[in-house]
């Protein structure tokens, strides 16, 4: 692997940038692997990297039906945070945030992590009480979180609509200083480059058509590029996971919905934090290029089409303008949608399912990006050892049989 550094940048700058090599190798499928991961988004690529790095498994393939990072990894609003309610969730999401904090160094690839803090803003006394409850839960669970006053929120976000008569006048909220944003493409590319350097085959334009199962054991996958033998398959395919699991006769507690995101034209720096408003459900941050990146709740129509509907757009944009009337002057540059896998308790499903050798990492719903390092870490642990990591154990599919749901939608009141 060609290491990136200030020195390599200087050297290439002086020699006309002719020495850069492709960051990862575009591989053709071999006939057999020790492990196959379906889905070349952040979670799948991270799984491949940690299989090689943490567990020494390098005969690994990542199969991606399109191009890597072209699904939800490239469609989210790039926020990373661990401001959750239940101990199980905080352990999971804070593992992810801690891995993000070291990721640029670990991968030798700048994922542009910017820990600019995140405010979950409240506009009613009842919401402030919920915020206090979340802040207390975060502190008990050992994560940085505190209640922020209306005055401090106003100082940090001066454009917030705090005028008399504002519909959602901010009373303060929960603050997590370690939350922030990271460049989502770089996360996929960084993991791909590091995994490829360790010998992982990353195979794009490869669609899985069937799973081969003999006597209750996964023995391979059928693809448009031919059959591949393996006795370990990990599914990390978000909204496509139900269709893949169905090939093994497994039904998951997933509905698929479109989640939309938007960017405005770029403007000068006006917002240096991530903001989620409980009252409007809209969240917003400003990209390094100056665009406002924002989104909100799900479209309420189950779908597999990567496009959003108009009612959800209206809700999100009107919410943004209630918070920031000044943004009404901005033009939208782009709008898009990804297909997210939503589970009743808004917590992921990680674990073995169906035949021996089949594992899933799905159900992240609208919150998968922030969880990429943890999702990869935990799925690789499962695939390498056959056993749960203690952090993924509560998120096994069996929680639906035992009634031990981890209901973050109810617990933290955060949009997922």
């Amino acid at each position: 692997m060609q290491r990136y550094s200030a020195f390599s940048l200087l050297r290439e700058g002086l020699s006309g940038h002719r020495g850069w090599r492709p960051a990862w190798t575009k591989a053709k499928p071999k006939s057999a692997y020790d492990a196959v991961i379906v889905g070349g988004g952040g979670h799948g690529l991270a799984t491949a990297y940690y299989l090689a790095e943490n567990h020494g498994l390098t005969r690994v393939a990542v199969l991606e039906r399109g191009w890597i990072g072209g699904g939800n990894t490239g469609r989210n609003t790039t926020a990373v945070r661990s401001n959750y309610f239940y101990p199980e969730s905080v352990a999971l999401y804070d593992l992810s945030l801690r891995l993000y904090e070291g990721l640029s160094k670990e991968l030798n690839y700048n994922v542009m992590l910017s820990q600019r803090g995140m405010l979950i803003a409240a506009h009613t006394p009842a919401q402030m009480e919920i915020c206090a409850r979340i802040a207390n839960a975060m502190q008990i669970n050992g994560v940085d979180g505190r209640l922020m006053s209306a005055d401090e929120a106003q100082r940090r976000i001066p454009l917030l609509n705090q005028t008399e008569g504002a519909r959602f006048k901010c009373l303060g909220g929960v603050w997590q200083g370690r939350a922030g944003v990271a460049r989502h493409d770089a996360v996929a590319w960084g993991y791909a480059r590091a995994a490829s350097a360790l010998g992982v085959d990353i195979i794009e334009n490869c669609t899985v058509k069937d799973l081969t199962i003999e006597a209750g054991q996964i023995t391979g996958v059928e693809t448009n590029l031919g059959p591949i033998r393996t006795n370990r398959v990990g599914l990390a395919a978000a909204g496509a996971t139900p269709g893949l699991a169905a090939m093994a006769g497994v039904r998951l507690p997933i509905h698929t919905y479109a989640l939309q995101a938007f960017v405005s034209e770029p403007v000068k720096p006006i917002l240096d934090t991530v903001l989620l408003y409980l009252g409007t459900g809209t969240y917003v941050s400003q990209s390094d290029k100056g665009e406002l990146v924002f989104g909100g709740g799900l479209d309420r129509v189950p779908t597999h089409g990567q496009k959003g509907n108009l009612p959800a757009q209206e809700t999100v944009i009107s919410g943004l303008l209630e918070m920031f009337p000044a943004f009404a002057q901005l033009k939208l540059l782009r709008q898009w949608a990804g297909v997210v896998d939503v589970v009743p308790d808004s917590s992921p499903v990680i674990g073995p399912v169906g035949p021996a050798g089949l594992f899933v990492n799905c159900g992240w719903g609208t919150g998968g990006f922030k969880a990429i390092p943890a999702g990869g870490w935990l799925l690789s642990h499962l695939m390498a050892t056959g056993e749960h990591h203690e952090i993924s154990r509560p998120f096994d599919l069996d929680r639906f049989e035992h009634g031990r749901l981890i209901d973050e939608a109810a617990g933290s009141g955060i949009a997922h």
Binding site: G239, P242, P253, P302, T303, H304, G305, N309, L310, H402
Partner: protein, 88 residues
Amino acid sequence: MQIFPCPFCGPRDETEFLFAAEAGKTRPEPAPDVSDAVWADYLYGNDAPKGTAREVWVHLTCGEFFVMTRDTTTREVKSCAALPGKAS
């Protein structure tokens, strides 16, 4: 804005409707013989089909539940019908 059909009220704006569940589930009985796995699948298991789907929706303004057949990729509505059974 998409228009959905209500079998009782006719074509209406999509914002008047709410998705309820996938159609075709049958409650497993008798209860003492139903395993945890079968019950969990009844409560939570979905097919989330890509393509044609039969779904139970509710028209919020009239309060009636009905079956809608849609394409989950193109969003085309193929048919809608009242739930089977006697009106009471």
